[in-house]
């Protein structure tokens, strides 16, 4: 079948060549008119199929004979030299037809290859961006519809069984009865359905999404009956591209799934590791004060009447001190647990920073045992200006400051200065606690915010939860907290609260 369009084009070109020859018949020699027809053959060969250009070659020779070779308007020839002209003309026309057609085929193949490369490139970049199996399948199906100009749906398994319910399109374009075909394709890993050896009467072609180890789903293609009857998806190179599409998608799904499995394993291992370090920290930190309390209390009970008053007092004090320590530890643990389970609700409002600081320092007085924390909260503000305001949960920010000051008091020599400084810096409020202690070991500036990390200091005891809680709280406020080495020795803990912390509700 020659497309009607090509036939018309060929006829028109021959007609134009004939008219031109008739007009020039008196000025040019007949052999030169043959060149005009050859030009027509070249034009046809460039646009039309080989069959058409060969036909045009013969028609051109005939027309040349009929219109341009005397006697005109007959196929009779007066001068037998023209027979040679006809033969050469036909030969040249046929060679041109053949060569041009081959060139066109090459160009066509190159275009197909390029389209195919481009389609696969787009597929792989789409798939690389997806981290979820279903989304990857959906992206691939959408792209396939565009590339193949056909309806494409992918079906994924539910509990090991392929299901038409888990599909990438909103409505089902194939009859529900064909679920069995899809299931067969899924089970056997072979294509089936329309134009295959298996169940060719189906409405769609079903291809397995086969990865390296297993089949992840089924791709169904429905030829688009509306646009043209002979759908190009059944051309061999399109079929091949379709199969490549299916296998690329399957590999992407496989990769996604193995990444997820890996991630799960990693999280699981981390959790296990955390649990065991939590257990060892807990068993030590909870048991030590409990042991002191039990020991001191049982001593008092069984030998109380024989102990000097002074010893009794000491034992009582140790019971009381250890109980306080235990209570703080349990409090920290509960806070951390609440933070990790997402059970903490920020109750943010605008507060003068000095109010939060003042409260913390006042409540810590007994613990600081006379140690002075000097404060400079006016920052770079003029003395008459309003105090620095922060948009925070006052109780939680208070807890951050409490933990930082408590740590500083534990890890720095008694009597060394502790300064709490605050100032506004561009879009943030900066709060710093500066000490002159031994400093954080270089390289540990981040690790100290990890759970259960403890400083090297032997005399200091704690579960290593204070700083992680600080970080959790500050980050819940969208701020940052860092430890910096201080010039001249010591550490600066710097909290930076973004300006929304200051003005959001003002």
């Amino acid at each position: 079948m020659v497309p009607l369009r090509e036939a018309f084009l060929a006829a028109a070109i021959v007609a134009v060549a004939t008219i031109a020859s008739l007009l020039l018949r008196d000025t040019l020699a007949a052999t030169n008119l043959a060149m005009i027809y050859l030009g027509g053959v070249v034009a046809v060969a460039m646009r039309c199929s080989r069959r058409v250009s060969v036909t045009v070659s013969f028609v051109s020779v005939a027309a040349f004979d009929f219109f341009c070779v005397p006697p005109y308007l007959t196929f009779a020839v007066s001068d037998y030299q023209y027979v040679f002209t006809f033969a050469m003309m036909l030969l040249v026309a046929l060679v041109i037809s053949a060569q041009t057609a081959r060139l066109r085929e090459h160009a066509g193949q190159a275009a197909v290859r390029q389209a195919r490369t481009e389609a696969l490139y787009r597929l792989s970049s789409k798939l690389a961006a997806e981290t979820r199996v279903f989304e990857a399948a959906r992206a691939a199906a959408t792209l396939a519809e565009e590339v193949f100009g056909a309806r494409v749906v992918m079906f994924l398994p539910e509990d090991g069984q392929l299901s038409f319910r888990r599909r990438t399109s909103d409505h089902l374009p194939v009859p529900p009865s064909e679920e069995a075909i899809a299931q067969w394709v899924f089970d056997h890993g072979h294509k089936a359905g329309l134009r295959t050896d298996t169940l060719p009467g189906a409405t769609a072609l079903y291809l397995p999404l086969r990865g390296a180890r297993e089949t992840f789903g089924v791709l169904a293609v429905l030829p688009d009956v509306v646009s043209n009857g002979e759908n190009r998806i059944f051309a061999p190179e399109q079929q091949h591209l379709l199969e490549v599409f299916a296998s690329q998608t399957a590999l992407a799904i496989e990769r996604t799934m193995s990444q997820r499995a890996e991630e799960e394993t990693r999280v699981h291992m981390q959790t296990e590791q955390m649990r065991s370090s939590l257990l060892s920290a807990m068993s030590h930190d909870l048991r030590t004060p409990l042991a002191s309390i039990t020991g001191a209390a049982s001593t008092l009970r069984s030998q109380g009447d024989r102990l000097p008053a002074e010893t009794k007092q000491e034992l009582l004090e140790s019971i009381s001190d250890e109980a306080v320590r235990l209570s703080r530890l349990v409090g920290n643990l509960l806070d951390m647990t609440r933070f990790e389970s997402g059970g903490v609700e920020l109750r943010r409002d605008l507060y003068p920073l000095e109010e939060i600081v003042g409260t913390v320092l006042q409540r810590m007085e007994p613990q600081l045992e006379g140690r002075v924390v000097s404060t400079d909260l006016a920052g770079n503000l003029p003395p008459e200006a309003l105090p620095i305001m922060v948009f925070v949960d006052d109780v939680l920010l208070g807890q951050v400051l409490w933990n930082l000051i408590e740590n500083a008091a534990k890890y720095t020599p008694p009597g060394s200065p502790l300064d709490l400084v605050a100032f506004e810096d561009n879009a943030a409020v900066i709060i710093e606690l500066r000490d002159r202690g031994p400093g954080v070991p270089p390289g540990d500036e981040e690790r100290i915010f990890e759970k259960f990390y403890r400083g090297k200091s032997e005399k200091v005891r704690g579960a290593g939860l204070g700083l992680p809680i600080c970080r959790a709280i500050v980050e819940a406020h969208r701020g940052t907290i860092r430890a910096l080495a201080r010039e001249g020795g010591g550490t600066i803990f710097r909290i930076s609260l973004p300006s929304e912390s200051k003005t959001a509700s003002a």
Binding site: A323, P352, E355, G358, T359, D394, V395
Partner: protein, 229 residues
């Protein structure tokens, strides 16, 4: 006669040490382990003060406060768990006088009990027209405030806020209570105004506004005026 305290608390260990400590201070003590019994005892014995645990087995402790306040002004001191600011605020807004967070040292509890009893006994007495705390002197009649004998100018709202705090000296006032008394019931949600006014008052009255001695913050709850340390 020694004051009678009613302790409503279900935990036997806590009752045990409170009994010992309160007894040693010479208070008479009545104990209840349920809200229901506590309410009955409060009505029949008319104690001078109620020590109330919020986590009772039969009913919410907040309900006890509400029911007691329906008929009387007996001071109520709440024993609450740490970190439950919401409960503290609810208890205070319902009319509780004060709270101590568990675990607490007995000294702190005894101080709060004494303060609450003292407030109750002086209630209704016309407080002297001049109130002093630290370097601050407030003449309630002439509405004049002096710090170190120097007159300090307060805006009308600042003065009103100070006056309310003085009226309830030693008692925690929730933000809602303060806003209601100073600015009126329509403004009880605008806590940031209150904080700015408190900050201003501290600037005018405290030696170091960042370490207030008298105008103290109860974090997450409210403020109280502590006359002397």
């Amino acid at each position: 006669m020694k004051p009678l305290l009613l302790l409503i608390e279900d935990d036997p260990q806590i009752r045990r040490f409170l009994r010992a400590a309160l007894d040693a201070e010479g208070y008479r003590l009545q104990e209840s382990i349920t809200a229901e019994d506590g309410l009955a005892q409060a009505a029949s014995r008319q104690p001078d003060l109620i020590l109330l645990d919020l986590g009772l087995p039969d009913r919410d402790g907040l309900e006890v406060i509400q029911r007691v306040r329906e008929w009387g002004k007996i001071p109520i001191l709440v024993l609450s768990a740490r970190g439950q600011e919401k409960d503290k605020i609810a208890a205070l807004d319902l009319g509780a006088d004060d709270y101590v967070a568990k675990p607490f040292a007995i000294g702190e509890l005894l101080a709060r009990v004494r303060a609450a009893l003292r407030r109750a006994s002086t209630r209704g007495d016309a407080a002297g027209s001049v109130v002093r705390f630290g370097p601050v002197e407030v003449d309630l009649e002439k509405r004049v405030v002096r710090v170190d004998a120097q007159e300090v100018h307060l805006t009308p709202n600042e003065y009103k806020l100070l006056q309310v705090l003085i009226q309830h000296t030693g008692k925690v006032l929730t933000q809602r209570q303060l806003l209601n008394e100073v600015w009126g019931p329509q403004h009880t949600e605008q806590a940031q105004y209150l904080r700015v006014y408190i900050a201003q008052l501290r600037r005018k009255l405290e030696r170091n506004p960042a370490r207030p001695k008298y105008l103290q913050t109860e974090p997450g709850v409210g403020y109280r005026l502590v006359p002397e340390d």
